[in-house]
């Protein structure tokens, strides 16, 4: 056995260029797998953060039928008790009650159908990035005038309005069933870089919208920010049960935004396919490299077999060479992958204002390292490399000594 290791190590050393090139294939594949996985993690983080923390939150609470019917009469009655419960829940780090209405907004120049959202400005800061998205003017002040209104810069262009201009909002009053109108002034313009929010939504204080809708102090939605956002993708999280009852239901973002969850699943599947194809190509390269090394010393293997080496021992010799090569190459690949992840994680990959699956990538994608990349992939790559070496090793073991030696015995 010792001689097998010695022979294997020396055989690798005899043609360093080929060993280096074959090793490089394994190293680069390992690094590429790690980087791909790190990119998927970073992409998922960014997409989920962009989707949830931009405005919707990690989770939301609604009246049981609200999401299905979007009927403004389906409100969360007397939300104060629930808000107090949220304030004391250790899993919840932020919550924002919202009043949601569909209405018409009119400027002097034009009018558009939009979603009107009434918020508590202080609470909204704990969940969404509305305050951070302000581009001009001021964020809503809870103790300020009830006529304040925030809209996207893009919507302001469409309506041809500027800061201070008047806007009339018309919504459907739930008490008497007629249209209720009120005058607001544009106090701030924001940029989310997401079409839905920038062109089809305006924000006002909660109280005036509740009055216009005739829903007293009721709200339609309570958005949540969780201490551990990743937990929100778990449909069986105990928190959902804790916050749900016969009137309301709490749900995480994967249930609220199935299209985003599907898009991320698809992205992961695509990346996995790319990773598998990448490694299959690499495996072919490894197979080719080992075959070349076998062809180069066919006579030598013939000699080994002729003088009494068993075929299994030749098979084992080729696999041992591959094992040594792979161990070194994978170690180098891990370092390469780590450095690449670290570098790209620090620099970030800018997707600009690209919108994927209805989600604007609000920030740079930063590949993220995980233990699985360094504990799961190395044995997988090693196993696949050895698998790729099986065919040439079997070929070597089947060499007919008399043919390998040609005229010399």
């Amino acid at each position: 056995m010792q001689m097998t290791w010695q022979l294997a190590a020396r055989n690798l050393n005899r043609n360093r260029r080929r060993t280096l090139l074959t090793g490089l294939i394994i190293s680069l594949s390992t690094a590429a797998l790690i980087l791909t996985d790190a990119f998927i993690l970073g992409f998922t983080d960014t997409a989920v953060r962009s989707a949830t923390r931009m405005f919707p939150g990690d989770a939301q609470i609604h009246q049981l039928d609200y999401l299905a019917e979007r009927d403004e009469a389906l409100v969360i009655e007397a939300p104060q008790a629930r808000l107090s419960q949220l304030a004391s829940d250790p899993e919840v780090v932020g919550y924002s009650p919202r009043v949601m209405a569909f209405g018409m907004i009119s400027s002097a120049a034009d009018n558009r159908a939009t979603q009107v959202i009434g918020i508590d400005p202080a609470q909204e800061r704990t969940v969404s990035r509305l305050a951070d998205a302000m581009a001009e003017g001021d964020y809503l002040a809870g103790d300020g005038a009830e006529t304040q209104l925030l809209m996207g810069r893009r919507l302001a262009e469409l309506l041809d309005v500027e800061l201070g201009d008047r806007i009339v909002i018309s919504v459907h009053n739930q008490e008497w069933g007629g249209a209720e109108q009120a005058l607001f002034r544009v106090s701030g313009l924001y940029d989310f870089n997401a079409r839905m929010l920038d062109e089809e939504t305006v924000f006002v204080l909660q109280a005036p919208l509740q009055t216009m809708l005739g829903v007293d102090d009721a709200v339609h939605e309570i958005a949540l920010a969780l201490r551990t956002p990743a937990l929100a993708s778990d449909p069986d999280l105990p928190l959902w049960q804790r916050l749900s009852d016969e009137q309301v239901k709490a749900q995480g973002w994967t249930t609220l935004m199935p299209q985003l969850a599907a898009m991320l699943d698809m992205t992961r599947a695509s990346m996995a396919i790319i990773g598998i194809m990448l490694f299959l190509l690499a495996a072919l390269g490894v197979t080719n490299g080992i075959f070349m090394s076998i062809y180069e010393r066919t006579w030598e293997i013939g000699v080994l077999l002729a003088i009494g080496t068993r075929r299994l021992a030749v098979f084992r010799l080729i696999l041992t060479e591959t094992l040594l090569l792979a161990l070194g190459a994978i170690a180098a690949g891990l370092v390469l992958g780590w450095l690449a992840t670290l570098t790209l994680g620090a620099i970030g990959i800018d997707y600009g204002s690209m919108e994927l699956g209805g989600v604007a990538m609000a920030e740079q994608i930063r590949p993220r390292a995980s233990w699985a990349q360094y504990s799961l992939y190395p044995p997988v790559v090693l196993a696949l490399t050895l698998l790729a070496a099986m065919y040439p090793a079997a070929h070597a073991a089947r060499i007919v000594p008399s043919r390998a030696l040609h005229k010399s015995l």
Binding site: N13, E300, L305, V400, L409
Partner: protein, 243 residues
Amino acid sequence: MHATKQRTASADPATGVVFETRELSRHYGSGDTLVKALDKVSLTIAPGEFTAIVGPSGSGKSTLLQLMGGLEAPTAGEVYLRGQAISSMSGRELSDFRRDHIGFIFQAYNLIPVLTAAENCEYIMLLQGLPKAERQARVESMLTRVGLSGKADRRPAQLSGGQQQRVAVARAMVSQPDIILADEPTANLDSQTGSDLLDMMHELNRREGMTFVFSTHDPMIMERASRLIQLRDGRIESDEVRS
């Protein structure tokens, strides 16, 4: 002048026959393209013989050595080593048979280039599972006997052709086989080196009784051989034992 006599085949190990072939044939192709590389060759090799198999190219010399060494399977006939037929052996048994009973010397030396002279000799004993002390003692002794005691740590590329072939002889003998099959061992050597090598093998044969079978064109081998088997068209044309 050499005295000559004809040998007859015998399968009885009691007669002291180390090797025997019976009606050994090796054919390639079929129909119009059938080539009878070896055709019903029967012979016996006794211990301590220094036998040269001679004949023109294509006469079947190398094929006979390949069949005797278990490197190829015969089309018909049988090879016996001390009365044991080798055709019934599995691949693994054949490997062990070659390891334990046959020593090979090849025309092109065919040493393992990444191993030193000593390691080339030691390798086969590792396969045999001999303990380290015995391996080292045998290697040292064998390299001394072939005149390479100071070159044990050199790799083949650091040795001359003659020295490499001496290592090959040492490798073939160190496992203490029943027979050494040498295929044109002097073909790649200059005449002086070839002569020295033959003297060395002849000496090992005379002193230690090692059995050698050569396939050769070399007159120097024919001159020293105790038995000369002439092959032509895959058949034994003559079998001459010299006293």
